[in-house]
Amino acid sequence: MAIEPRKPPSQLVPRLQRALGGRAGWSGFVVQLLFVAALAWIAYEIVGNARANLQAQRITAGFGFLANNAGFDVNQTLISYSGSDPYTRVFLVGLLNTLLVAVIGIFFATVIGFLVALGRLSPNWLLSRIAGGYVELVRNLPPLFQILFWYLAVLAALPNPRQSISIFDSFFLSNRGLVIPKPIGNPGFEPFVAAALVAIVAAILLARYSRQQLFQSGRVIKVWPYVLGLLIGLPLLSILIFGLPVTFEVPVLKGFNFSGGARVIPEFVALTLALSTYTAAFIAEIVRAGILAVHKGQMEAGSSLGLQRGSVLRLIVIPQAMRVILPPLTSQYLNLTKNSSLAVAIGYPDLVSVFAGTSLSQTGQAIEIIGITMGVYLLISLVTSLIMSIYGWRISRSMGG
């Protein structure tokens, strides 16, 4: 007599339990219900109170105020702006200023950070100690302190424009900020850009071709003279044919101030300087840890294959170190972007300063304005972390596969 196989018990109830209450089952579901009820109650209280308070202050909620005239001036704008523009324009101006500080700060922070990291790893005792001292000093002081230090103490102590510090008689640093030559486009500008683009594309193609040849036949093609020739030659040719792409308007001292040239406001100089040196200290530690994380045997193996020190670093150590460095490096970039909001302390017109500061005090629309400002920063960091998780996923796939 054959034994009838029993039917497996229905999975419906356990599955439902799991979906509704996780591993804890029905009790988890009850906890969840209570939690949601508490949240709903808090939200209800907040909305009710906010409505009553806004009514008492005679403020109408909503985003209608964004179309009103701002009526104040901003001392650094990347897009055209005047006091009669609406608040949306103020928002854009602030956002662009924030992004400007972030991009330039990130560039300098990366450069300084890598240099300091190399200094810390240097066999020279004095250099590694100086780099270490720099990292410890800068890391242990609050960023706001450093911004104020550069702005209030150092830049304010610079001489006035008449006695400003000049570099090559074209860059002038004074307590009114940094004055630099202003580029003005010439007719030769477009051909120059086109030539440069063609040269870059051609150089990339050449490098790819040589790499392919190397992998297929093992032949080493010395490609860099051609690349260099292309990159310098084509733009030079365009200059010879069409004339200089840009001319620089050099600032001249007239009376008590400079005329001509482009002025970088001192707030920007102080903020960029403080943020890039501050973040550089963290980047230096990250880069150092990344390079130290690559096993010593990798370098030795590379050398024993006959590669030179530079090639070992470029082809073996740095690609492996980058894998360790990149995630914390991006989070430092995000930190720099977030710290750029400290601009409000010295009056640099960034997003927080002009939008969550001046616009907020003019309109009183606290909920909307702070919500928008937080949303912008949140969006920036979410997008960045999304990109990073895609990158991490690709890395883990390439390592595993």
Partner: protein, 507 residues
Amino acid sequence: MSDTTPSAFVRQDLVDERPAPVKTTGLVGFLRTRLFNTSGNILVTIVCALLLWFTVVPTLNFLLVDAVWSGKDRTACLSENTGHVVGACWPFIQAKFAQFIYGFYPEQERWRANLTFFLGALLLLPLLIPRLPAKGVNAGLFFGAFPVVAFFLLHGGGLNGLGVSWTAGLLSGFNDSIGEGGRKLAAAGQSTAVIGPLLWLLGKLIVLISTMISWLLLPLTWLRDLIQAFDRPVWADFVLSAVIALALVFWFGTGKREGLRPLVNCLVIFAGIGLVIALMGLDRGGLPVVDTRLWGGLLVTLVVSVTGIVASMPVGIALALGRRSTIPLIRIFSIAFIEIWRGVPLITVLFFATYMLPLFVPTGFTIDGLMRALIGIALFAGAYQAENIRGGLAAIPRGQDEAANALGLSWAKTTALIVMPQALRHVIPNLVNSFIGLFKDTSLVSIVALFDLLGSMRAAFSDPNWATPTTLFTGFAFTGIIYFVFCFGMSRYSLFVENRLNAHRRN
């Protein structure tokens, strides 16, 4: 056969002495190997030495050699009067010292701030030294008792109720709000067309529940009224709370295995509370109130950072557990909460706390300016702490969890007794690093009009009595040294703990 014939390939005379190997030890060896071994390195060394010469020497000159050490006002720090280049103007710091430390805290009450500093140091130092015993009691005192004592010391004021009154007030307030919501829902249901009846029914149901709860609460509110009728309500409430708590502990906590221990602990805690009330006279109005607007300087910096540190731990633990929970909505809420606070700059959080939070509380109910900043910082720091703690939880092997389950421990006991202690011990260095970040971030409260150390410094700069060319640099040097000492100390401590934790991995 003799082999005395000298072979041509055997050497007859001694080899010349070779020069001694290059010394690699001692000062000379160190100089040779680490500073001057190649021409490139020699160049680097010279450049570095020049760099040091042009930065460190002028700094030392400024701080010590050229500094002015005594004086009454700005005239002491002008180079016309001293006859040499003037460095740091230390009399400025002497004159403003009290402002840097206490802000505008009234002079005759400053002993309270000093006593708080002293108590904090007394409790914190033994907590930091791993060799000392009784970490649990110590941590309980520092994280639980100290904030309360510090609040009544620094702020002043007394109590007119305790456990029973607070619980009664909180629960009845909560219940009233539920009933109010139900009534509004029912009213809204009457005016809506389609889903109206449903809403009305729901509203009535909520009102019914709230009424039932209010019947349940009746004994509690009756007790409260009874207590408030005494001429010393605090002590009456104290005795009653103690009795109720002891009864609860006796009912739930005292079993065969634990014996009377929970009961004794509870008694000791209540004795401590009674002692604090009696010593500080909280039943008689306590110390005179010092408004938080008068607080300032290092006092505010320390208050904000210690509150942030203490408050961020429970918030962080709760969020970390929530994020690891399998219950879907709690998990989603925790993730969203953590990511939102971590994704925005602290300054926007402070703006949120300063401008938006007052809109969320009932009209006529104001939150103190310092309190708002503290709430913002606690939430912000809690989100960062949650990620640290989650890292520690992830590092605990699953076997620990499973072993605890096999012994029949509940989830709460598994977490509290097995997993969390190990996880927290793992992440002490990370926690300390977050504390360093938090300490540095406290300087941001000066932007929302609180006078912390940095804010006091800026306020001191505006004094025309001390306006000299070097006042700014002197102020920055002084506050910079304070910040550096705190942060550097914490980072060294974190390194020390890390080495201790990794002692078994060293080889």
